[in-house]
Amino acid sequence: MNTQSYRLRQVLMNFAVYFVLTFFALVMIFPFLYMLTTSFKIPSDTFRYPPRMLPRDPVEVTVDGYEESLPLYYVDVDGQQKQYALAESNIKVGVYAPPDHLESTVERYLTEVKPTGGAMNPQTVIIDGEEQKLFDVNVDGQIIPMVLVSQTTVGEFIDPQNAENKVYRNVRLSEPVENVRWHPENYREVIELNNMSRALTNTALVTILVVLGNWQPPSSAAMPSPA
């Protein structure tokens, strides 16, 4: 074998060695990393799926006309992803469609739409053998009788720069804007826990006494046995 192929093999061997070692090192250290970063998270962040390593906070902005700061979300506006603030949630919205054209749906607030013919004398239509109520839906100034296909709950998202720009999106499916923020105050809370000082003292005392009790001259110190 010539020296060049020998050296190549050596490099490949070393690469394999570091690969195996790093893989196992990641397996070994992962729970510790997880514990460490989780210790800097806020409670709601720890229950999130999919799980993430770094602690994050939802971003909030103040918008003119709203007293409390509002959480920011990523929303699709005209094909562009923008950051809008959630101004109001739990708005009931009906999805309406003309009886002869069920694919072309429009969304309207349930409160805005009145039954066709008034509440006392609602009109109905038969679709697939089922009787369904008709509603007057305003589409571009025209009143069209439509049926209620489904209902959802949406939130009102507003442009933080211009509160007039509003879109309605499903809140649960929208992704909140978050930034990485560490919460070292978790540690302060732990220290301020009841009995924490006593627990620390007990641990320290037990450690000191056990070490003193087991102390032997370094030359004769034996290898510790597995606990």
Partner: protein, 561 residues
């Protein structure tokens, strides 16, 4: 202690008087010990349990007889008398000292110390500062070492002052006063007097002149010194380890329940544990009550052979479930923690840079607290938000996209599914023990001489041939040590299960282990007699397994030094 080489032919008066006093003292000691034994049975000492009476009176009786023998031997100027005398007086001295400390409530005092300890900690900082100041001196030694530098003197006084302030703050003064106050009760004064009397007797017996009078040789002196140095450890071992061990053996033959006087029940506990029935099943689905008496026996499991089967039933079903789980745990956790450790140690043994870092990383889990580790893994195992299921989902998505197939995400309920609960515990244990085993293997590998590998290289052996031909056989003693200690530790699995599972028995008793079961019996159902019996059965199982490993080791290893 060295003895003068010349032996005086004539005893001086003081020594012969002392020896006479010693004979009297030994007789007095014998009488007192006998009186103690009688007092125990006369009911003057408040001891409820029978075993306590038997044990204490036997000890007193033994001391009394030994003391009489000692008196005879001393009067005959035999050295055996001195040994007996020293042993008895030393033990009595220690007993009196412990009694004195206990009367002064020094052992309970630790509790009070824990309350005030925190106040003193800042002053320990002063001690540390003083120590560091003195340590600076070591790094920058001054030219003339003849006189002590002022820095060192100052640092010493800072240390002393820091300790004084610390003891003041933790209430050492009031503690000392309390100790003395408690000690002034009659029992305290008696025990202090005992300490003094036995101390004086020890001293006078240890005197070189007394020793010579009793024909002490240098090897006698060496023996006494050896036992004296050994005694703190030996006494601790006997009282805190061997004693409870024997006690639990006694309890395993009783119906002890922590509240009432234990009654001797003979082998009843063991009989209940080992009470099993095997029965043929005429069909795989046959009900247990058709073949065994279900008033006594519960079905543990069944082995299906074609359209027949064997039913395994036991009086104590949980013990056998626990045994099955424990053995399954050992069967998987030991190879899973030993085999990767062997691989990693061989890789780590290469002299590449950065190996110390990897070694430290692998060692981390084994020094972490089991409770904390189990809690972290509980999060990782979480079926909906845990990382393990998340990684599985990612892997399956990747696989499905790569090969355009539709493997279904299993969404494993790690700890709440009876099929995976034990596996979850096994993975934690293997993960945690692996690093320690790696370091042990690494230590073993360092002992294999490098010339063997060089010779093998010259002979044209490849890495595999070297591993199978040199590393494995020469590593056999280490492997034996690693496997047997890991097995013993794995047989006693408890903490991981106890923390990870809720309830610890796991779904449908799938993670009940022997130690968990004996803990439940002994400390929650207060059936300590039964729990002790389980513990001894566990001991026999572990002992048997270790014995088998020893036999295999002896047969297979030819290189053991």
């Amino acid at each position: 202690m060295t003895l003068p080489l010349t032996f005086p032919s004539q005893l001086d008066n003081r020594t012969s008087l002392m020896l006479r006093l010693h004979v009297i003292w030994r007789i007095l000691f014998a009488v007192l010990a006998l009186a103690g034994a009688v007092m125990i049975w006369a009911g003057w000492v408040a001891l409820s349990a029978l075993w306590q009476k038997i044990l204490l009176s036997a000890l007193f009786l033994l001391a009394s007889i030994l003391s009489l023998i000692g008196a005879i031997q001393i009067s005959r100027r035999n050295h055996a008398g001195r040994m007996i005398s020293l042993t008895l007086d030393y033990l009595a001295f220690v007993a009196c000292a412990v009694l004195a400390l206990n009367t002064g409530e020094i052992f309970i005092g630790i509790d009070f110390l824990a309350e005030t300890f925190g106040r003193g900690i800042p002053y320990l900082g002063i001690v540390l500062a003083g120590f560091l100041l003195g340590a600076v001196e070591n790094y920058y030694p001054q030219k003339n070492q003849t006189s002590e530098s002022s820095v060192r003197v100052v640092s010493r006084w800072i240390i002393v002052g820091g300790f004084a302030l610390f003891f003041w703050q933790v209430g050492a003064v009031s503690g000392l006063l309390y100790f003395l106050e408690k000690l002034s009760q009659p029992i305290g004064i008696v025990s202090i007097a005992g300490v003094l009397v036995f101390g004086i007797m020890l001293w006078s017996m240890m005197r070189p002149k007394t020793a010579m009078a009793l024909n002490a040789k240098t090897n006698h002196e060496q023996m006494i010194n050896g036992w004296l140095f050994l005694s703190p450890n030996l006494l601790g071992f006997l009282i805190f380890f061997a004693g409870p061990l024997i006690l639990s053996f006694y309890f395993s033959f009783t119906d002890s329940d922590a509240f009432n006087t234990p009654n001797w029940v003979g082998f009843e506990n063991y009989a209940r544990i080992l009470n099993i029935r095997l029965a043929w099943l005429s069909s795989p689905g046959q009900l247990a009550r058709e073949v065994v008496d279900i008033k006594t026996y519960d079905e543990v499991g069944r082995l299906i052979l074609g359209n027949r089967g064997i039913l395994f039933a036991a009086a104590d079903k949980f013990f056998w479930l626990a045994l099955r789980n424990t053995l399954t745990f050992v069967l998987f956790a030991v190879p899973l923690s030993v085999a990767p450790a062997l691989l990693l140690s061989n890789v780590l043994n290469s002299k590449l840079p950065g190996m110390k870092f990897y070694r430290a990383v692998y060692f981390m889990p084994s020094i972490a607290a089991v409770v904390g580790i189990s809690l972290v893994w509980q999060w990782l195992y979480n079926a909906t938000i845990g990382y393990i299921n998340y990684f599985i989902t990612l892997g399956i998505e990747f696989w499905n996209n790569l090969f355009n197939v539709a493997v279904v995400d299993p969404k494993i309920q790690w700890v709440s599914d009876e099929k995976t609960a034990l596996l979850a515990v096994i993975l934690i244990a293997a993960w945690q023990t692996m690093g320690f085993n790696t370091v042990l293997f690494l230590a073993g590998l360092q002992n294999i001489p490098g010339e063997l590998y060089e010779a093998a290289t010259v002979d044209g052996a490849g890495p595999w041939a070297k591993f199978w031909g040199i590393t494995l056989p020469l590593l056999a003693p280490t492997t034996f040590y690693v496997v047997s200690t890991t097995t013993i530790a794995a047989m006693q699995v408890f903490e991981q299960v106890f923390i990870l599972m809720n309830p610890p028995e796991g779904p449908n008793n799938s993670t009940i282990t022997l130690v968990l079961y004996l803990y439940r019996n002994g400390f929650q159902n207060f059936k300590q007699g039964y729990a002790s019996a389980i513990a001894w059965v566990l001991f026999i199982v572990i002992f048997g397994l270790t014995l088998v490993q020893f036999q295999r080791q002896r047969r297979s290893s030819i290189y053991e030094g």
